[in-house]
């Protein structure tokens, strides 16, 4: 006897079961194929050393993609992370050069990132401006500020902590890889177990009904962007460590990779629903492309072409499988 908790299958699900499986795990299969392919072309691809390098190189992007998942689920696109990384990194470098304290410098980086994200959030939630424009503007001015403050030069940051960030801990796993894993775990936790996560879904799915239910949406939008700022701060820390310096041209194009990671992983751009495991697969996809193609000795140009083609194919594949999912009786 069906009860309220075990229930009957909704008729819509039944039909789209096959499509659902394809949509959720199709990209994973493609990813596995990519692994095999790259390894065939270059046997050193599937080594532990290369895998950890792959993850370390792309850790900043992957961490940002966690925050970007929240943004996209709630229907707010954020173009600012890369420029923010540059800006926060610059502030971090300046504070470090001035004070010599790495702790102060790291704190400054986080404060900057969170501050700018919340500033954007206020413009979006309170003044009601389109997120695309607000974050587009900060894409322009944040990097401009970074360049201005450093005079277009990098600021060297040398400290045992930085060295630690670049060292390998065990099994050649570096702190950035650990941080990435932590970011995904923490993100998943927030998304599925906290009010912030729940309301992120609610706002992205139907903001009017959410407001009607009495949820203070402005407050939660600010919280969400503040949290994104924390992820950006983390990504800044990693980026500065890997470069050993605060560079105003750091992370160029990272926000695009992050957005693409979220989307080709299978999260719909329209928002309202999403899973972090999809972002993880999408981010790995991008990371594998970045690493695998460059390992083959390709020039940036060719990498970009193949990457672009792969992205478009993955998108089309996603569209087709969504159509399969939507098939109703």
């Amino acid at each position: 006897m069906a009860s309220a908790t075990s229930g009957t299958q909704s008729p819509y699900r039944l039909q789209g079961r096959a499509g659902a499986l394809v949509a959720e795990y199709g990209l994973l299969l493609i990813l596995i194929v990519l692994f095999v392919l790259f390894n065939a072309l270059n046997p050193r691809f599937l080594t532990l050393a290369n895998m950890t390098t792959l993850l370390t190189q792309n850790s900043a992007m992957m961490i940002v993609s966690v925050g970007m998942t929240f943004a996209i689920i709630s229907k707010h696109i954020d173009l600012s992370p890369a420029s923010l990384i540059a800006l926060s990194g610059t502030i971090m470098g300046i504070v470090f050069a001035a004070s010599g304290s790495i702790i102060l410098a790291i704190a400054a980086a986080f404060v900057t990132a969170v501050f700018v994200e919340v500033f954007n959030a206020i413009l979006i939630a309170r003044v009601g401006i389109n997120p695309l424009i607000v974050t587009l503007a900060s894409w322009i001015w944040a990097r401009g500020l970074a360049v201005s403050l450093t005079g277009a030069e990098s600021i060297s940051v040398q400290h045992p902590f930085i060295d630690f960030m670049n060292a390998s801990l065990f099994l050649q796993i570096t702190p950035p890889v650990v941080l990435t894993a932590l970011a995904f775990i923490a993100g998943g936790f927030v998304l599925n177990r906290t009010r912030l996560g729940r309301y992120t879904f609610a706002m992205g799915s139907d903001e009017r009904a959410t407001i009607q239910a009495g949820v203070p949406t402005t407050k939660y939008k600010l919280l969400m962007f503040a949290m994104f700022g924390l992820f950006v701060g983390l990504a800044t820390l990693i980026t500065v460590s890997r470069l050993g310096a605060a560079a105003p041209d750091a992370a160029y194009g990272l926000e695009l990779d992050a957005i693409v990671a979220v989307i080709i992983g299978g999260n719909p751009f329209q928002g309202g629903e999403g899973k972090l495991r999809r972002t993880l697969i999408g981010a790995l996809f991008i990371a594998v492309l970045n690493n695998g193609l460059s390992n083959l000795g390709m020039l940036d140009a060719q990498i970009a072409t193949y990457k672009g083609a792969a992205i478009i194919l993955a998108l089309l594949f996603g569209v087709v499988s969504v159509r399969l999912l939507r098939r109703k009786i």
Partner: protein
């Protein structure tokens, strides 16, 4: 969803009402005039004809890109790949020229490739159903890469005499008044704008664009050919990016890997400053031109006052933001 286009009540004849109606409908133009006055007072070099024409020349490429972008935004979409498509056109043309192709064919192929790229964007968005931001993001990455492959990742000089002629030619100036000639590139841009303004105001295509952007459902229920028009908008945007590429090739003389990168954002800024709504249906290309002018006036002024180039970028971003915020707050007051 404000519809305050021409909707002030006819019976309010007070000076205040007339004034506020005038300001609302011509805000962009007023901002331009205000800036001209303010900057002119602040720097004695600003209002010199030579300087003003300089601004025109510098804004040419973004102006052309913004024209195509306006079309796409009018029908409710967006195209983030214009910088890469510009690069595509310039790159292909430069490669052909280097290999000895006649200049007319080289230009034609370059423009065609840009047009096809635009069409592809349209198909991805309207037929495949991918959201415009994502689809054009993919094109942005892929097209630039493809072009670099075609150019073998090297930079190519454009030394064709036709391009040099385009870059240098000006109308005859008035030497006595210290008025230099108007650069040919500027004239080309003005002509394109003129054509497009007429098209949007006076042709079926133009009317359909505004109808679809204003309310796609109604347009569909009125029997309009929605899909072809939207595809055409994206295709024209590609063509404009191609033209921008040609202008760029003439202006810089060398096609390097980073050409046009990042220009999509300045392009969108110009369109938004010109008062076009991102949601579609409202906007005019003439005002986009003003928007581009505002953008480059500010950049020019900052250069005259010797503000370092790095700060200029910051200022630009903050300027765009301020303009939007003010406009939104004003909308609230009016609405």
């Amino acid at each position: 969803m404000s519809n305050k286009v021409q909707s002030f009540p006819d019976n309010q004849a007070s000076v205040g009402a007339i004034l506020s109606r005038f300001v609302a409908q011509n805000s962009t133009l007023l901002v331009v005039v205000l800036m001209l006055v303010a900057f002119g007072l602040s720097s004695d070099k600003f209002l010199l004809p030579n300087n003003i024409f300089n601004i025109f020349r510098q804004m040419s490429v973004v102006a052309v890109l913004a024209l195509g972008m306006t079309l796409v935004i009018l029908i409710g979409g967006i195209d983030l790949s214009v910088g890469s498509v510009l690069f595509l056109a310039a790159g292909i043309t430069s490669v052909l020229l280097r290999d000895g192709t006649p200049v007319a064919i080289a230009i034609l192929v370059g423009l065609s490739s840009a047009t096809v790229a635009g069409l592809m964007n349209g198909l991805l968005v309207e037929v495949a159903g991918i959201s415009p931001v994502i689809a054009t993001l993919g094109t942005l990455i892929g097209v630039r890469g493809l072009t670099l492959v075609l150019m073998n990742n090297a930079q190519i000089r454009v030394t064709d005499p036709f391009f040099e002629w385009v870059a240098i030619t000006r109308t005859p100036g008035i030497a006595e008044l210290d008025v230099p000639g108007i650069p040919l590139t500027v004239i080309i841009v003005l002509i394109i704008y003129l054509i497009m303004a007429v098209v949007l105001r006076q042709t079926l295509f133009g009317r359909f664009i505004y109808a679809i952007g204003g309310n796609q459902v109604t347009a569909h229920l009125s029997g309009l050919p929605v899909l072809p028009i939207k595809l055409l908008a994206y295709t024209l945007c590609g063509l404009m990016a191609g033209i921008g590429g040609m202008l760029m090739a003439a202006a810089t003389g060398v096609i390097s890997p980073g050409l046009g990168a990042g220009s999509e954002f300045y392009t969108i800024a110009a369109v938004v400053l010109g008062g076009t709504r991102l949601s579609g249906g409202i906007g005019r290309v003439e005002k986009t031109l003003l928007g581009a002018f505002i953008l480059y006036m500010v950049l020019n002024f900052m250069t005259l006052r010797r503000i370092p180039a790095e700060w200029q970028q910051t200022a630009t971003g903050l300027l765009v933001l301020t303009a939007i915020v003010l406009d939104r707050l004003a909308q609230r007051r009016r609405g």
